[in-house]
């Protein structure tokens, strides 16, 4: 019995590696949706904001992230887009980060067909612009003066949904999903100045820094990190990468904790034998 237990303690670490791989890959292929204790209020506020928007209103979705922060932020963008389409809300997608091209392309290719949404009627994608400050201030007067063409180089005016959109007054709200300081730009240069409701989606690490904005209601809602993405997916009951991300992290952590406790129990038993 003693040497069997010793063998367990000296377990080849590659078994642990296989178990860790499985605990992360399985939720990716089939999200499980492990319950989390409570849905944070800031995520709930974001959900309620879109939920209560009247049908046909238009929102701006500013997607400013690249492959390095995509694991946390891409699922948020998908969840918000799905929710907006479910509520028949029109969406203007724009970006100030060069590296986000491929990711936006994937969203626009996969999500609109699920809700039979038409380009030009229900959503529009604007081209990458390098200087965000100029864009943000220009869109206060006339969006068409800054973005005269869309991403496919066609004049923005011809699209049906853009006909009665001139500036922020015709927009119901802005949702900025980013790992950079662009959300601060939206709050300071647009939210406070023109009274446009600003909501955000950020990485877990930078989430802490936005407390003051939330308290002073400059930010009407905030989705934070992988946990926030999973909560939002839970609210719109569309489990995807956010849910699988949190599942994977949950299971992997439990795996490590169980291993450590297990090996210590074996150690204690050995002591008494």
């Amino acid at each position: 019995m003693k040497e069997k237990l010793n063998k367990i303690l000296k377990l080849d670490r590659r078994y642990l590696f296989v178990l860790l791989t499985l605990s992360i890959v399985i939720p990716i292929i089939k999200p499980i949706g492990i319950p989390s204790k409570s849905i944070s209020t800031s995520t709930k506020d974001t959900y309620n904001f879109i939920e209560n928007l009247p049908e046909g209103s238009t929102i701006i979705l500013s997607l400013d992230y690249d492959p390095s922060t995509a694991p946390e932020l891409h699922p948020m963008a998908a969840a918000v887009l799905k929710h907006a389409f479910k509520k028949n809300i029109k969406v203007i997608i724009l970006t100030f980060i060069a590296g986000s091209g491929g990711l936006i392309d994937e969203l626009v290719r996969t999500i609109p067909p699920q809700y039979s949404k038409e380009y030009g009627k229900d959503y529009v994608v604007l081209p990458y612009m390098a200087n965000p400050l100029a864009a943000l201030t220009q869109m206060a007067s006339d969006i068409h003066s800054f973005y005269d063409k869309d991403i496919n180089n066609k004049p923005l005016k011809n699209y049906e949904m853009m006909k009665n959109i001139k500036n922020y007054k015709d927009v119901a709200g802005v949702i900025g999903i980013t790992g950079t300081a662009l959300l601060d730009y939206w709050v300071v240069y647009v939210g406070d100045k023109y009274g446009v409701p600003i909501l955000g989606g950020v990485t877990a690490i930078s989430q802490v820094g936005y407390g003051p904005y939330l308290q002073k209601k400059q930010l009407k809602g905030l989705i934070g990190g992988m946990k926030g993405a999973a909560e939002y997916e839970n609210l719109i009951s569309q489990p995807w990468k956010g849910t699988s991300g949190i599942d994977a992290l949950n299971i992997a952590h439990i795996l490590v904790i169980v291993f450590i406790i297990f090996s210590n129990i074996v150690l204690l038993i050995l002591k008494f034998l």
């Binding site: 670490r13 950079t180 300081a181 601060d184 300071v188 820094g209």
Partner: protein
């Protein structure tokens, strides 16, 4: 663009715009009465680059619910509103200066103003145009019990200063440590000094011995620091001592490098060790090998070396970041004795769990003296102990001091804390 900088620039920006918009309003002449603010004066903000001034005037009980507007001008004719504040917002403690430069308890209204912001001047040409200093006129408009009072005009100058008096406390600390350093180092030659046992360094002989028995190599990883890094200098010194032992035992040594300068310095150090150990012939050029200057490419290559050469002992000495565990865990997998040492405190937990012995923080600096027993270096260890002793006496002594004085006389407490504030 870090957030603090952004918010600060936005606030100042809005102030600037705010200041310009008010210029026109001022020219409409209302019935403004004259008032004499006692000791109203403008002085240069001490220990700064020369872009700020301090404006202050005595507090007057009668103006308790007043509102003050401070105006600046370069020619005492057209004025720009620089700041606006209520009576209770203006006090001597607004000025962030230590007690030996500014008395925070004085009963005055005080305010620091950055003139480059008020007149929105570009910093480079501001300093080129006013090498001798920037003279400025100031006046205060006091608004209270629905009347406006205009103060007398005062003149002041914002000058660049040559010495940071507010960093005097740091200079004194550096001087104390330098004096103690020279005192101890100069008496070094005389008597043999005691050093406590450091487990990690005692294990070096055991590790090199094991490598010789098993005929397996020793891998010494000097870390991903540059030559001017303090931990890298300590690591190269330890490499010299370890090199001597390896030469004596005639074991084989392999040193993969991240930084080309450290690579060339290490070559010379190892050659020197083999010479001093009396085995110049067994020194081989390919002991030190340059891998690459990329954190994780280096980790991958060293992992490859460790798995293929299956060393009996691994040393990880110097500056490490996330690659610490990548190396130590592979070394543990191969069953080598592992001795690590770094001053990067975030990586110590990983070395501690993965290696057999770990030199924590300053033990890395002490290793050179411990192994070489050179009197000059051993005495430097004494200075490190003196520094720790200094901290302990300060921490315990001043905590008790503060406990007592927080009850009796709080101003002493403030003064004491000022001594340790970093500006």
């Amino acid at each position: 663009m870090n957030r603090k900088f952004l918010l600060a620039s936005v606030i100042i920006l809005s102030l600037g715009i705010d200041a310009f918009s008010n210029k026109s309003k001022d020219s409409i002449k209302q019935n403004i009465e004259k008032i004499e603010l006692k000791n109203l004066s403008v002085v240069d903000y001490p220990s700064d680059k020369g872009n700020s001034i301090i404006l202050y005037f005595d507090k007057d009980e009668k103006q308790k619910n007043f509102q003050y507007e401070i105006y600046l001008s370069t020619d005492s004719t057209n004025w720009i509103k620089a700041k606006q504040a209520k009576y209770d917002e203006l006090s001597a403690s607004n000025i962030e200066l230590p007690f030996w430069m500014w008395n925070k308890k004085r009963n005055i209204n005080a305010l620091a103003i950055d003139v480059t912001k008020v007149f929105s001047l570009q910093e480079d040409d501001y300093f080129k145009q006013n090498p001798k200093g920037f003279s400025v006129y100031a006046k205060v408009i006091a608004i209270g019990d629905n009347k406006k009072y205009e103060s007398q005009i005062v003149k002041g100058i914002a000058k660049a200063n040559w010495f940071r008096v507010d960093r005097l406390n740091n200079l004194v600390l550096v001087i104390i440590i330098s004096i103690v350093f020279f005192m101890i180092v100069s008496h070094a030659k005389k008597r043999e000094l005691f050093i406590r046992k450091i487990a990690g360094l005692e294990a070096i002989d055991e590790a090199v011995g094991r490598a010789t028995e098993m005929g397996k190599p020793v891998v010494y990883v000097p870390g991903t620091g540059s030559m001017s890094g303090i931990s890298t200098i300590a690591s190269i010194f330890i490499l010299g001592e370890v090199g001597k032992k390896i030469a004596q035992y005639d074991a084989t040594l392999k040193v993969p490098h991240y930084d080309p300068i450290v690579f060339t310095v290490a070559k010379e150090t190892v050659k020197q060790s083999y010479m001093e150990a009396g085995r110049p012939d067994s020194y081989r050029e390919d002991i030190n090998v340059y891998i690459t200057t990329d954190q994780f490419a280096y980790a991958a290559a060293v992992d490859g070396i460790i798995t293929r050469e299956k060393p009996a002992a691994c040393f990880y000495m110097g500056y490490f970041m996330a690659e610490s565990l990548l190396l130590a865990e592979v070394g543990a997998g191969v069953g080598a004795i592992q001795i690590a040492g770094t001053d990067v405190d975030t990586q110590l937990p990983f070395f501690f769990t993965a290696c057999d012995y770990t030199l924590i923080g300053e033990e890395l600096y002490a290793a050179g003296a411990y192994l070489s027993k050179e009197p000059m270096l051993v005495s430097a260890l004494k200075v490190q102990d003196f520094g720790k002793f200094l901290f302990i006496t300060f921490a315990i002594g001043f905590s008790i001091f503060l406990l007592i004085f927080s009850k009796i006389e709080t101003s002493y407490a403030e003064k004491l804390l000022d001594i340790f504030r970093v500006r």
